[in-house]
Subunit: 148 residues, 2 copies
Amino acid sequence: MPKIDLSQIEQTSTTGYPPPFNEEVAGRHYRRLGPALGLTDFKVSEVMLEPGAWSSQRHWHDGEDEFLVMLEGEAVLIEDQGRSVLRAGDMVAWAKSVRNGHHLINETDQPCRFVCFSGGEVTWGEYSDIDMQFHADGRYRRKDGTLY
Amino acid sequence: MPKIDLSQIEQTSTTGYPPPFNEEVAGRHYRRLGPALGLTDFKVSEVMLEPGAWSSQRHWHDGEDEFLVMLEGEAVLIEDQGRSVLRAGDMVAWAKSVRNGHHLINETDQPCRFVCFSGGEVTWGEYSDIDMQFHADGRYRRKDGTLY
C-alpha cells in the first residue's frame, strides 16, 4: 500500500487508568495503526500529545519490548536517570523486564507526535511514581495486589 | 535508556544477494538496532541510502509484517500500483502475505534515512522484478526452486 493516510484512521483519547491517574493523559490522542493496516506481528500506534499532556504514567513492561520514533515537535523523556529532550527523528528503545520507568511529557506550547511499537506478550508491568500495576487481564491493581 | 545514539551502533553494508542483484544495494548502509539495544520481540533497523541506492530488490514477505518510518530526506516507494514519494514523518505498512512487492529508491542527490520494523516468522518471500525468492534457510533461489 502507499504511504499511510492518518486522516483515514480513527483517532481515540480513551484510557483505562482509574482517576486521578487519567488526568495527565487527557490530552493524549492516538491511532492504533496495526488493526487498521492488517498488522498482527507487532503493535504500532501514532500518538499526539497536546501541550502539557503525558504519553502515559511512567511505567515499564515485564513482557514487551518497546520502541519509539519522534515524528514532530518536542517532548521530554523522563526515566530513572533523568530527562532527555526528543525531537523529530530521535528514537528510543525500552527492552522488556528492565525496571526503568519511562514516559514522555509535552512541555512545549505546540502539539508533538510520535509513533511507538511494542511486541512480545502482555504479562504485567508497574508504574514508577504511583501505586499501580497493569496485568495481562487488563485490570489495574495497587502494588499490594488489590484491584482498582 | 535515553535516546539512541546511532553513532555508537555498528553500521554495515553487507548483502547476501547474488550478483548482479547486489549492485543496486551497494549504497545501502544499515544498523540492526534490536541486538544492539536488547530487543527480541521485533526487528528494527536504521537504513541510509546514498543517492541512487535501493533499499532492496522489490519484494514481499509471506510471514512477516513490515512497517517503515521515513526519518530524513526523500525516497520513492515503488509498488505494483505505482510510485509514492516519502519524506520525513511519512509511514508505510506492509502486511505479510500480501503479494505486492515494494522497495524504496533514493532518486535525489542527497542521502535519505528511514527506520524499518518487522515481526513474525521468516518463511519465504519473492522478488517481483527478478527471478529470485528468499527462504527460511537464508538461501536465495530462482522461482523454479534451484539455488543461487
